[in-house]
Amino acid sequence: MSEQTLARPAATGFDVNAALLVLLKARTFIALILVFAFFAFAAPNFLSVANMVIMSKHVALNAFLAIGMTFVIVSGGIDLSVGSIVGLCGMVAGWLILNGIDLGLGFTIQFNTFEICFLVILVGITVGALNAFLITRLNVAPFIATLGTLYVARGAAMLSSNGETFPNLNGNAAYGSATFRLIGAGDFLGVPISIWMLIVVGLAAAYIARRTPLGRYIYAVGGNEKAAGLSGVRVNRVKYFVYMFSGFCAALVGIIIASQLVASHPATGETFELNAIAAAVLGGTSMSGGRGRIAGTIVGAFVIGILSDGLVMMGVSAFWQTVIKGVVIIAAVVIDQAQQRFESRLALQAQAALGK
């Protein structure tokens, strides 16, 4: 959390309220430090560079989805379909690398890596646009609309290969698709490509959220859709953007996983949507819309990711990991509620001090 202001010691002494507020606001960050410090002591090899790289790659996958999810939740919706989009996009990538597109005229079109990525992203965005279409034009509740596309996209992924895995996605140098592997395996300046991608997407999302009219509209729509509409915000456009952006993020994850595994399996990405929602909520995003930050979400994704990887390294059973993850999420929301109440009380006090 970058924009924390330090508690100013007032002339009358230390301002306890302000300090408490800063602590509450930075809670996810504090949790991240605590979790990190704990595993640094408790888990062997936790601090090794190799482990850091592996862990950050894991976290990145969830972080992409969580960034897209944050926009959707802030706008007052929910996107359950991202896990399935990951699976579908992985299969599309696998298909394009292995088979190209058969035009049925006796020859097929083959694609290079960029074209493949472009087409896969297009698929992700299209599913997102379909979500938005269902929600805005046909008035389907976001939960139901995206639940529907969750099944449709997953089914489509299964159908594409009859449930089989597309193996050996090494690409073909002759078609220019041999570089596909580098997305998951390559690095630049010692940092994995997927992390660079996360940095770019994260910065872009944070910029959109804070410094563009579109970002402000997302918050306004989530806070009060009717008032936003009457203020001249094009509510439907905003919704199209958030779902398409979420689809875009999911497509990136599909590509990265297919590249990392050099294979794509249609069941990839099951329950990813729940992890993404958890990261967003952990980062302070309010499920009722209008409140949440990209930086918070990314920190939230790191907390969840480090927690689960660290527990694995300590040899804690997978069952206990699940329980611990659940407890952390609930605790995060409880503290969030406390912060909201505290903050609005401070604002009211300040207002009352003005004598109305």
Partner: protein, 519 residues
């Protein structure tokens, strides 16, 4: 008709109710007579609803006593009041549309066997009996959501009667009813009156009151200004007591000349969800620098008219012109760009995004002005917000606080600032003084005057006679979706406005309506 026939069933002595910041009721003495219709009249905020809430146990008196049969009673909850035979039908119906009529009537007082099993047979039978008493053929198994508003009102009344209500309070029962439904309701009230039930009837429709009332009580600013039997009461008497002699001072300062026409609406027509037309062929024009007041009762179609103009609803008919050129834009943002801005009636629901900061709310309509391409200049935004906070004298600790931390008046100023930031040519204001205190009201009105002097055309909707008389250069009166009167400030009188605002609500209008449907 003598008072002997109508014993006093409940009285308030020295009733005072204080809310933070305002005194809603000032040492009121009120007698409620049984077997009669006690009508209660006054402007918005005069204290009618407060007094009824006190009787129904929703609120408690700060000072004073409530007496029933000579003994003091204290109603801490609505249940207390219900036990004493007091039932209230609120203006906004408190029914569950997803449940059946019988379920609604017995909500939280279900007839049960052994405390757990609902005896639906008995409930149905009882509901049917109540419906017969109210002369309505409503099947107890019908879902309330499938009923017409008038029938829903009957269900509410049945609910009160099922609790053996001896006193029935009806808060603006006819505001959502068609004239035919009003007739039925009046028959029901007549029956209840014969059964000795004491009825309190609140309404803004003065003609109705004259017709149905036996006793009348007029409230103004929390005080009872007139109370007498209905005989000999006329409109002029009611209006005099409602308004008082001393008009509140929203004085108009200097006169300024009007500019050319900035806006014209022609034949605006909006179908109503209740059938019929919510806005019925309304046309008007507005000149630069002019303040046009639209006076009318709740449900007269005033807010709907403004929603048509701003583009909040799109399924209306008619034509709009800005500065003589037809308005092709259908979207709200397109219309804002053409120079129209709306200050909605319901600040909370339609005006503000409560969880965003004051700054973010203020600039929501005009963000494009602070953006180059997609990049938003936060610095420029902050400067502009600080400027408007100063100009509108909004009292804020910090523009970064949530807008919900402000008082009503300051919230309203934020909404107005938001509209002004779009540099409008035409400002639509729906009940701009609703729910704000006197001081803030005066400031809002001063702002309106100044804006008009700067050449803005203002259309403002109000149900406050004082306001419309004091602020408007010209007054339109709407009733039942139609324009029923147009007055220049010079020749408008309160009586004329009130009369025009209740046109089309009498039995004649009902017949005309049926005739139209039949042909």
């Amino acid at each position: 008709m003598t008072t002997i026939d109508h014993p006093v069933g409940l009285s308030i002595r020295g009733g005072t109710k204080v809310y933070p910041g305002t005194v809603a009721l000032k040492s009121a003495d009120f007698d409620l007579r049984m077997g009669a219709v006690n009508v209660l009249v006054g402007e918005n905020g005069a204290g009618k609803s407060t007094m009824m809430k006190v009787i129904a146990g929703v609120e408690q008196l700060t000072e004073g006593r409530i007496l029933m049969d000579g003994e003091e009673v204290v109603f801490r909850t609505t249940d207390d009041a219900a036990r004493h035979g007091i039932g209230i039908v609120f203006q906004e119906l408190n029914l569950f549309p997803n449940l059946s009529v019988a379920d609604n009537i017995f909500m939280a007082r279900e007839r049960t066997r052994a405390g757990i099993d609902i005896d639906s047979g008995a409930q149905r039978e009882e509901a049917r009996r109540l419906m017969r008493r109210l002369e309505h053929d409503i099947d107890p198994d019908t879902l309330v959501g499938d009923l017409k508003v008038g029938q829903q009102q009957i269900v509410e009344i049945a609910k009160s009667l099922s609790q053996n209500a001896r006193i029935l309070i009806l808060d603006e029962p006819t505001s959502a009813l068609s004239s035919a439904e009003v007739e039925i309701l009046f028959r029901v009230i007549d029956e209840l009156r014969k059964d000795g039930v004491g009825i309190v009837y609140i309404s803004h429709r003065l003609e109705e009151l004259l017709r149905i009332g036996d006793y009348i009580t007029v409230l103004r600013d929390g005080q009872i200004t007139g109370a007498r039997p209905m005989e000999g009461v006329d409109l002029a008497w009611i209006v005099r007591n409602m308004i008082g002699d001393a008009s509140k001072d929203f004085a108009k300062d200097v006169d300024h000349a009007f500019g050319p026409e900035v806006f014209r609406a022609e034949e605006i027509t909006l179908p109503s969800s209740r059938g019929g037309l919510a806005v019925d062929h309304v046309s008007f024009s507005l000149r630069a620098g002019e303040i046009l007041g639209i006076y009318g009762l709740m449900g007269a179609g005033r807010s709907e008219l403004l929603e048509c103009i701003i583009g909040g609803v799109t399924h209306y008919g008619g034509r709009l012109f800005v500065e003589g050129k037809p308005m092709a834009e259908r979207s709200v943002s397109g219309r804002i760009a053409r120079g129209i801005a709306l200050i909605p009636e319901d600040r909370k629901q339609d005006g503000l995004v409560q969880i965003l900061s004051i700054r973010e709310n203020m600039t929501l309509s005009s963000l494009k002005a602070f953006a180059t391409g997609i990049h938003l200049s936060l610095k420029q935004e902050a400067l502009s917000v600080a400027d408007f906070i100063r100009r509108m004298t909004v009292k804020v600790a910090s523009s970064e606080h949530e807008v919900s931390s402000l008082s009503g008046g300051n919230q309203q100023k934020v909404v107005i600032a938001k509209a002004l930031m779009t540099r409008p040519k035409i400002l639509l204001m729906d009940e701009p003084s609703r729910g704000i205190d006197i001081g803030a009201k005066a400031e809002v009105f001063r702002v309106m005057r100044r804006l008009a002097a700067d050449g803005l055309g203002i259309v403002f909707v109000t149900s406050d006679l004082d306001e419309v008389m004091a602020l408007s250069d010209r007054i339109l009166v709407m009733s039942n979706g139609r324009v029923t009167g147009e007055f220049d400030r010079a020749d408008a009188t309160e009586t004329a406005l009130v009369e025009a605002s209740s046109l089309g609500h009498g039995p004649d209008a009902g017949r005309a309506g049926h005739f139209r449907e039949a042909s």
